[in-house]
Each structure stands twice: as C-alpha cells, then as structure tokens.
C-alpha cells in the first residue's frame, strides 16, 4: 500500500467508525454468546469423552504408539515425508529449513502481501494459498491419525531362539526397554522407527547394533532414535545378537 492508499484507508475507516455502533453492547454480546457455546462444548466433551490414563512409562507392552497430540500430526507427518529418504540433507530440510521458512512466511504475511485489496474474491492468489494450506494440513493430520495405528499382537516368537540363549535374553531386553513402542516385529509394535523383523539381513554385525543402541546418531547421523546408553555391556551384546540374527537365523 502506498501513502495515498493508506490515507484513503484511514479516512474510510474513520467514516465506518463514525457510522458504527459502540463496542458495548453491540459486539461484546456476540463474543459472549460464542464463548458460552464453546465452554458448553468443552464441558460436554469432557463428560462424554472421558480422558483416560495410558499405561505408565516403561511397561513392556506393544499395544500403544508414541504419538503426539493430534494437532502435531501435520508436523510429524511432514517430517516423515522428508525423513524417509534417510540422508542428512532431508533431515536438515525437515527440522530446520522447512519449519523456518514456514515461520517466516507466517510472521511475514502482512509484509509480503502489501496490496490494498481486501475482498477475498479479488485476491485469487491468497485464496489459493489458504485453500492449499487448509487441504495440506487436513490431509497430513488425517495421515497421521490413520497411518500409524499400533498393531497389537501376542508375544512375538521367532524360530531358532532357544530359551536361555543370548538371543532370548536379547529379545527380553528389546521388549522391556520400550523398543517395541517404536519398532515392529512381525506386525506387532509401533511405527515410529523402521520395521526390524528382517534387520539382520542387512549384515551389519553385532558390534554395529551395540554401537547403534548406545548412540544411534553416532552411527546414523541425524537419527531420531533416542540413545540407550544405560544398558549394561551384556544386555547390549544380547540385544545385538538378537537383532543381527533377525530374518537370517531367527525367523
């Protein structure tokens, strides 16, 4: 908007105000009606849909999935799109470039769009952006909602693991340390990380799994898996034996 357009707007707005009505009570009554309806909706939902308490942290179960609140689904889902390429550049894209560009666009909107026109029917570009953003967020939220529902299963068993062996101990560690909440084994578990049912076929070696479990991002740069540095060397060794045999010795 140039100086003349700004002055014209100020004049026009002053006129609108002069012909207008006082805020109290003409606008504030509408505000209160809507607020009361919203409050009623919140109380109604609180009564109708009781908020549960999930299982406590560190219980050995694979029937849940670590997912954020629904209003973060679109962010997580967006991240997954970039993340699935599994290289450093997409990671930086997803965690740094994309969010920062979006933030700058959000905060900067009034400084980017400086045209005087306010009617949406005369702002086709702005309208398209609004529709695209809405559809995009709705779609990503929907994907996050349905895409990764945890599939619960009974205790997963593998052939080739004898009770009391190192691999059997490794499987116990896997179940009790919460690995199942992010990883699937034979269709049971979470979907935050990759399915590990056949991870042994990658021929990475026991030592790789030991190092990876202690510090995932040291082995796979940018890895989003949390480190499990607190495990004992024996536990790590058992776990490594178990993982390294998955899909090859243990099926």
């Amino acid at each position: 908007m140039n100086r003349a357009q700004q002055e014209a707007y100020r004049r026009d707005y002053a006129q609108a105000k002069k012909e207008g009505k006082p805020f109290f009570p003409y606008a504030i009554y509408k505000d209160h009606i809507v607020a009361i309806l919203v409050f009623a909706g919140i109380i109604g939902m609180a009564i109708w849909q009781r908020v549960p308490v999930g299982p406590p942290v560190y219980t050995a179960t694979s029937t849940f999935e670590p997912r954020p609140e629904w209003y973060f689904f679109f962010l997580f889902q967006m991240l997954k799109i970039f993340k699935n390429q599994n290289a450093l550049v997409p990671v930086i894209m997803a965690t740094f470039l994309v969010p920062n560009i979006l933030m700058v666009l959000l905060v900067g909107t009034p400084f980017i769009d400086r045209r005087a026109e306010r009617r949406i029917s005369k702002r086709p570009f702005a309208l398209s952006v609004a529709i695209l953003v809405f559809i995009g967020m709705a779609w990503l939220t929907y994907q996050g909602e349905t895409g990764a529902t945890p599939t619960s299963g009974g205790a997963v068993t593998f052939t080739g693991i004898t009770p009391g062996s190192s691999a059997a101990a490794g499987q116990t560690v896997f179940d009790t340390e919460g690995c199942t909440s992010c990883h699937m084994l034979k269709g049971a578990g979470g979907q935050v990380g990759p399915n590990l049912t056949t991870v042994g076929t990658k021929n990475l070696g026991v030592d790789w799994f030991v190092r990876h479990t202690k510090c995932p991002s040291c082995v796979t740069p940018g890895s989003q898996m949390p480190p499990f540095a607190g495990l004992t060397p024996t536990q790590l060794q058992d776990l490594g034996t178990f993982l390294n045999g998955l899909g090859t010795t243990y099926k």
Partner: protein, 276 residues
Amino acid sequence: MSTTDIGPKGPVGQVGGAVVDHIDHRTGAKTGLTWFLKRNIPGETSWFQTLGFAAMAVFGLQAVTGIVLAMYYKPDPASAYSSIQHITNDVTWGWLVRGMHKWGASAMIILVFLHMARVFIFGSYKYPRELTWVTGALLLVMVMFMGLTGYLLVWDQRAYWATVVAMNITASAPIVGPYIADVLRAGTNFNSETLARFYSIHMLVIPGGIATFIGLHLFLVSKLGIAEPPWSKRATRARRAEEASARAAARERQPQGRREVSVEPAPQSVTAEAGQ
C-alpha cells in the same frame, strides 16, 4: 449509566461514587474502561469476528482448570503418573477438571487456527494491523508449545515416547538444535529433571508469555479498531462512490469537446462523502 437523575443518591451510592472517582482520578481506570467499552466499531461486524474473543476466553478457562490441576499434580517422575491417576479417579470432579483442561487445549488450538483463517480471509492483517498479526503469530507458536509441554506431564508411555522423539527431532536441527534440546531436556538425555523443566515451562514461562502477548494483541486491536468486513454494505457503498468520483475526475481531465455525456450524474452527497 446515569441517564435519569431521580433525587439525591443514598449513602451507599455516594460512598461508592466517591471511591470510583478517587480511583479514576489517580489511575484513569474508569475513563479507560469507558473508552474501551463505548468506543465505536464499524456497524456491520461478522460472527467470525468473535473467534479471537472465544480463544481468549478458553485461555482463561485453561488457566483456571490448570490451577486446580496444579493443586494435585506432582512434577516428579516417581509420582507424576500416580498423581494423574489420583486426579482422574479419586479427586471430586477431578476427572471433569482434567477433561476440561485436555479438551480445552484442543478447542483453543482449533479456535486460534480458525481465528487466523478469518483474519487472513478478511484481509485484516493489512495496513495498519500488521503488528497485530505478528503478535498473533507469536501467540500461535506459544499455544502450540503449551500443547507440547503439557502432553509430557501425564508421564504415560505414549506421551513419554512421543516427547522423546520430539526432542530428538529438535536436536537434529543444525547449529542451535542440540543446544535448544539440551536446555529443554535439562541434559543431553531425557532424565528425571526433564519433567520438572517441562512443568515450569508449561506452568510459568509460556503462560506468562501468552498473557503478555494477549495484552499487546488486544491493545493493538482496540487502538486500531476492529476491521470492517470488506464486503459490508457501507464499504461497498463507499467503494462505489470512490469509483464514481474517479470516473468523474477522469472525465474532467478530458478536453472539453471529447467528454462523454454522463448518463447518470454523480450525486452530490456521494462525491462529498468520498472526497472528505
């Protein structure tokens, strides 16, 4: 509202009036409030322009229910989970307060996004309301952070691991990412201090920021006045008049002989309105 004066005021009225005058004389509170409530706004406002107020009202509700929850909640990893269970199962109306806080959070997010959408569609972020938009965008980020930090406090499997992942994502951002994640986690790993840190961010840091920015936001909204819907009858009328007078002026600039004969002469009142 002293529209009709019927006789002398009673002693209560006199004392009350004196107290109000005393305070107003020193703070301007009454004058300010009267200005705020009695200021004119454009005649035609849309129902969509109530969404900001609704978001603010829900913020108030979150503050009240949050205070009640804080009376029972214990921010340490050993007892957080059981204190939530206690609130949900034992405390009178505890489940209701927790439910309202949880659903209120979702409602607030939805309202803030809808409010932003209406501001965008109405073009209300344009001159002179750019800074109102900027303070609003920062409010949006803070509201999202409330959701993130509050989620962990329940300390159940889902929330715990989801937050672990979120912090690892933060840490994978280049340059500042690891530092931000370390500050949020109170260390390079999720640990027992992390919960207390999230608790204080959720209870003190962000609510303070939101309250401050709602104050700024509202100051700007009332100082600049709420925008008029661009398709309101008055705006359309003014725009037509403007266009008519522009056409008339263009005609004036034409040499005498080539002027078209105007079919409908611009009415005097309209040109005056547009030209003032």
